[in-house]
């Protein structure tokens, strides 16, 4: 990354990118999730080792990523329920060019379809990246990356 101060358009860049430049030091490690109001409940439960997903009390459908309202029927008051924590690999890519120094390549960036039907992005870990396949059964495994944040990774469910 170029030093923005060496760039003739530095002022424009810095001004517009201010919220992002502040996070820049994090690029040395694994990036933290930028926790929103919608996601707060997920991360609080994740810290306790529970994989939570949103469920709509009005239409009973589940949704992830979370939102204040239901994407299916637009009712409010979304509820959080515990997912089983198991699912299958919907798709993945073995990444050889990590965007952050704190990520060790190669790693498997994956989209998991939980047994409840929603999908989420993650990494499949605890197996060689060459073993990751679409349709492979996986289960959640939380790993703390700070005092308040535990990330949901997935490992083979043998």
């Amino acid at each position: 990354m170029q030093d923005p101060t060496n760039n003739p358009q530095a002022l424009d860049l810095v001004e517009e990118a201010a919220p992002y430049w502040k996070e820049w030091p994090q690029l040395k490690g694994r990036p933290y999730p930028i926790v929103t109001e919608d996601g707060m409940a997920f991360w609080l439960r994740a810290k306790k080792g529970e994989l939570a997903i949103q469920k709509c009390p009005a239409c009973s459908k589940v949704q992830m990523p979370p939102w204040q309202t239901c994407r299916h029927c637009m009712s409010g008051n979304m509820e959080w329920v515990a997912a089983k924590g198991t699912g299958t690999v919907y798709s993945f890519s073995v990444v050889h060019h990590p965007p952050y120094e704190g990520l060790q390549a190669p790693y498997a960036f994956a989209v998991i379809e939980l047994d409840e039907g929603v999908r989420m992005a993650t990494n499949v870990i605890n197996c060689p990246v060459g073993d990751v396949k679409i349709g492979m059964r996986v289960r959640v495994l939380f790993k703390p990356i700070s005092e308040s944040i535990s990330l949901p990774f997935f490992e083979p469910d043998l």
Binding site: D12, E16, I34, P65, S91, H96, H97, F109
Partner: protein, 399 residues
């Protein structure tokens, strides 16, 4: 687009400024040089431009604001202007916006202009980092090392799984793109490429090899002047070139490059709606299309677009391309400048504009050794990053 406005607007002027090396001109300069050429090409005085649509560049939105640009250019006649956002490919809406201005009688001559120099400023690694930092979903995907190329690769992996596409078929897209690029003086790929070259290039984001991705580099400004088709025909005698009529322009908004939000990875939900609507509005079918331009930031994306747009049955685009279907002389000449796979990717917001520049060259019969004989109808399928905001448009040269 509703059929009542189908075919009512036409491109009457075009100008570009492409840079391949050195310090990029800033957005203003690229926009003004290309606008100057487009306005001259349309045989208009600058003050006859009464509608203006600018498209934000990848790194700043303010820099390309339409009302600022019109002052900078001294466009005294502008009465309606709009700045399209960068993110997620909504910039393709610029043409739709111009069409609305024209068909509603708000403007007679609308200038559509955009510029970007992102890919002259940053090398490949920096560009990947930038994209991961800015455009990856920050709460649910970025912590896991998601990035734009990783998302494209995840889509490709699923497409292979569902339709049995192979890496050899992906490679055939790069080989075809290179055949076109070798006939373009500004293309980045200067040597022929074989299937084995692609397969032997380093695995970058599985299942995609390094040569399955576009070539970042360059900067460009692109400008188009549109007027009503009636006015274009009435002025045909004074125009430098045949007008190019917008037969249909369909956009279904979405922001699906965040993979965890996508319903399908192999099929574009947007194109499924747009493509039949566009063919109906234009009164043609896929067989009538002479030229096809589509987002080729990965080889796989081209195969998916060929299927989404009705040129191939599902799962058959790979064999179509491998048999030379999109080559020079093939059944459907595609991305005839080499696109971004072998030509150049001048930056997010102007990739499609650079493809439209090639479309203009082809439809005007100015494409030199790449010229597709008798090319009259072009189709353009483009979205933003990783298939978000897919749009479909059809264009026809008026003689």
């Amino acid at each position: 687009m509703v059929s009542s406005v189908s075919g009512k607007a036409s491109i009457i002027g075009f100008g570009e400024e492409t840079m391949v090396k050195g310090n990029p001109l800033n957005y203003w300069s690229l926009m003004s040089l290309s606008s100057q050429r487009a306005i001259q090409d349309a045989r208009l005085d600058k003050n006859e431009i009464d509608g203006l649509v600018t498209v934000a560049s990848s790194w700043t939105t303010f820099n390309t604001a339409a009302n600022v640009f019109m002052e900078y250019m001294g466009l005294k006649g502008v009465r309606h202007c709009k700045t399209m956002p960068y993110i997620g490919g909504m910039y393709y809406g610029a043409f739709q916006e111009a069409m609305y201005m024209i068909t509603n009688g708000l403007a007679k001559n609308v200038l559509v202009v955009s510029a970007d120099s992102q890919n002259l400023k940053y090398n490949r690694t920096e560009s990947i980092q930038n994209h991961a930092q800015y455009y990856c979903e920050p709460q649910w995907e970025r912590p896991f090392g998601g990035s734009i190329p990783a998302i494209y690769a995840t889509i490709a992996q699923r497409y292979m799984h569902e339709y049995g596409a192979t890496n050899e078929q992906f490679a055939a897209v790069k080989v075809a793109a290179t055949k076109w690029a070798l006939m373009h003086p500004l293309a980045m790929q200067k040597k022929p490429v074989t299937i084995d070259d692609v397969l032997n290039s380093p695995m970058a984001f599985s299942p995609l090899h390094l040569l399955d991705f576009s070539m970042f580099g360059g900067a460009g400004g692109f400008a188009f002047v549109l007027s009503s088709t009636d006015r274009a025909i009435a002025r045909r005698g004074e125009l430098a070139n045949a007008p190019v009529r917008m037969e249909a322009f369909e956009i279904v908004p979405s922001q699906q490059f965040w993979v965890s939000y996508r319903d399908s990875m192999s099929i574009s939900d947007e194109l499924a709606i747009e493509v039949p609507a566009a063919y109906k509005a234009a009164g043609i079918g896929p067989k009538d299309v002479d030229l096809f331009y589509t987002c080729d930031t990965t080889t796989c994306a081209v195969l998916q677009a060929l299927e989404d747009c009705g040129f191939c049955e599902r799962g058959e685009a790979g064999s179509f391309v491998a048999a030379g279907g999109i080559d020079p002389g093939g059944a459907l000449p595609t991305n005839t400048s080499g696109g971004s796979l072998s030509g150049r990717h001048p930056g997010g917001s102007v990739l499609v504009m650079s493809q439209l520049a090639e479309m203009m060259a082809q439809l005007r019969g100015e494409a030199g050794p790449r010229q597709v004989p008798g090319a009259e109808v072009a189709a353009v399928a483009y979205g933003g990053t990783a298939h978000s905001n897919q749009s479909y448009s059809i264009w026809r040269r008026l003689d």
